[in-house]
């Protein structure tokens, strides 16, 4: 029982990271109709930026982490202004290749820093163990879950009560009508990319205590695609729930199924979900009720 709770906690924690990356993907996709294949790279760059500020420049983590996230938001906004804007209204293939190319440039840029390509880094937080009676939970997992819940709350408030959040939602629902209502659609696209990049960076920071920081940590973004699709591809809460669902399913599969099957579980679930519920799991449930 205790070990089951521990496995579930770690599954939920990694699922939160999947969910956050999926959330950033869905946010960008909804607002700009652009498919981003660079969320993994943004995540990795965000984590490395925090490491560089923390161990390189010697800043304390509580300053380095927010600055890294803000820096990534800026990077997202700049990329949108100069390149990604051009993909709007074009076929999906254009955005797929454009973001993939930009992702390669980011990864190549980090690779050419010798210190980044040789070592695995860790951020100095949350490496102790939380002891509740007989139950031993890794503090990092608990922290990831708590941080995700807080972040989800902040985002919910942002999207429901602030002017920018409402404008962004209006823009995602119907850009033309939003423009007629006086929403500056182009700025909203920039905002969506800035938020998407920042969310990916947060996911990178939260992933840091679980898998450490290295060049290929962005591969986790591949698991965010199944999470986004399971959530319906257009629902922000759905993406988060899809991510947590995948994380739990994966960790349970690791417990029950033979070695190696675990890594395929998200993709098999994705194909099954697409075959059975082509409009996303949430829509499938809704229709059934």
């Amino acid at each position: 029982m205790l070990s089951l709770i521990q496995v579930l906690t770690s599954g939920i924690a990694i699922g939160c990271v999947y969910g956050l990356v999926a959330l950033s993907f869905v946010l960008i996709y909804k607002a700009t109709e652009t498919v981003s294949f660079m969320q993994g790279e943004l995540l990795m760059v965000g984590a490395f930026a925090a490491v560089a500020l923390n161990t390189g420049a010697g800043w304390p983590l509580w300053i380095a982490a927010p600055v890294a996230v803000a820096g990534l938001a800026l990077l997202g906004a700049v990329l949108e202004r100069f390149a990604l804007r051009r993909a709007i209204g074009q076929p999906h293939l254009v955005a797929v290749l454009l973001t993939f190319g930009l992702g390669m440039m980011l990864r190549g840029g980090v690779t050419s820093v010798p210190a980044a390509s040789h070592d695995i880094y860790r951020l100095p937080f949350a490496d102790s163990v939380l002891q509740i009676g007989a139950l031993a939970l890794s503090l990092s997992h608990v922290l990831v879950i708590v941080a995700t819940v807080v972040l989800a709350g902040v985002l919910a408030v942002f999207f429901r009560y602030t002017r920018a959040g409402l404008a962004l939602r209006a823009c995602s629902e119907n850009a033309r009508v939003a423009a007629l209502m006086g929403v500056p659609v182009a700025s909203m696209h920039t905002l969506a990319w800035a938020l998407g990049a920042a969310l990916a960076a947060v996911a990178g920071l939260l992933l840091a205590p679980i898998t450490f920081i290295h060049l290929n940590m962005g591969l986790i973004a591949l698991k965010a695609f199944p999470a986004a699709v399971l959530g319906g591809l257009t629902s922000l809460p759905g993406a988060l729930v899809g991510g947590v669902f995948l994380g739990v399913a994966e960790s349970l599969a690791g417990l029950v199924l033979p070695e190696g099957v675990k890594d395929v579980v998200p993709y098999v679930l994705l194909m099954l979900a697409l075959l059975l519920f082509p409009d996303g799991m949430a829509a499938g449930w809704r229709r059934r009720r």
Binding site: L93, F100, G101, M105, G109, T111, S112, F225, V264, M271
Partner: protein
């Protein structure tokens, strides 16, 4: 048909005289092999209008089928068709969700398919030896062995020619019209013209998969060693880039794209020698430049190279041309 072939011949002669026969023949072999896989993508992406992120996995199926059969002494007359058939079967399997999906959802399902195949190749160690890879025997039948670069080039060009003719024939006929109808408007194609959308997409993927299988079988022999990571997501994107750069709407796009994709690493290697400083020797530079070329291509020529040659002419003919 004639013009690209003449151009290829000219490039071949030029390459032979400048680079030396063996090197040029080796590069031409690679270009032809990539172009065969590219033809498959022209059908799927350019004609049927579906995004697939899993073409690399289909090439992998062909490569592994050919290698495993050739290792057991099966002659190429049997093993190559088997590789083609496995590629086609993989394409059919990958396209199953396309019955009810289009666009991005479907692209995601091909991504999942590709990742499942890659994981399978890594894990099924008793058959594929996993990440350690397999070394591929020389392509040989009876007393004939294809082991010099010139012979390899001739075999690849012959295969490319056959594939090209087959594709051209299909595109001119009923299937080609059905693919283009589905690309332009699925609902109208189905309801107004009586096109069976699911079957049409399936046909595109079977043909694309078969071409990928053929390319994979040849590629395995030419490279001489295969391992799962050669056929990862990066490879699928490389192929996607190939048709995008060449122009997905035309069969010749596969050839131009293959030429660019094969020569790009060589050009980058040349550039690396010219650039001064320590930075130019870092491992990341190649990735940065490769990414920069994609970004530049996408931003400057969203329609690809093949359409650029026509210019104004192409835009006039846009309605009829394909």
């Amino acid at each position: 048909m004639l013009r690209p072939l003449l151009l290829i011949a000219a490039i071949l002669v030029l390459g032979l005289s400048v680079l030396g026969a063996d090197y040029a023949a080796g590069q031409a072999t690679l270009v032809a092999t990539y172009a065969i896989a590219g033809l498959g993508l022209v059908i799927i992406v350019g004609q049927a209008g579906q995004i697939t992120l899993g073409q690399g996995a289909l090439v992998a199926l062909g490569a592994y089928a050919e290698t495993l059969l050739a290792m057991r002494g099966v002659p190429p007359v049997l093993s190559v068709p088997a590789a083609v058939a496995l590629g086609a079967a993989g394409g059919a399997l990958a396209s199953l969700p396309a019955r009810r999906l289009g666009g991005l959802y479907f692209a995601m399902s091909t991504l999942a398919f590709a990742l499942i195949v890659e994981e399978m190749l890594v894990r099924w160690t008793s058959l594929t030896r996993g990440g350690a890879g397999l070394s591929v025997p020389t392509l040989s039948w009876g007393g004939m062995r294809v082991d010099t670069p010139l012979e390899q080039m001739l075999v690849s060009l012959a295969a490319l020619m056959l594939a090209w003719l087959a594709c051209r024939r299909l595109l001119a006929g009923r299937s080609g019209r059905a693919w283009r109808a589905v690309r332009e408007d699925e609902v109208a194609a189905a309801e107004a013209c009586g096109v069976d959308v699911a079957a049409t997409k399936l046909r595109a993927f079977v043909l694309g998969g078969a071409l990928a299988g053929l390319a994979g079988a040849l590629y395995a022999h030419w490279i001489g060693f295969i391992s799962p990571e050669q056929f990862g997501l990066m490879f699928s994107f490389e192929l996607l880039m190939l048709v995008f750069i060449g122009g997905a709407r035309h069969l010749s796009g596969a050839l131009w794209g293959a030429l660019v994709i094969v020569s790009l690493p060589q050009l980058i290697a040349l550039l690396r020698d010219v650039l001064p400083g320590e930075w130019s020797r870092s491992a990341g530079l190649e990735t940065v430049l490769f990414g920069a070329v994609i970004v530049a291509m996408v931003l400057l020529r969203p329609q690809g190279l093949a359409s650029a040659s026509g210019g104004a002419q192409a835009s006039v003919r846009k309605g009829t041309e394909d």
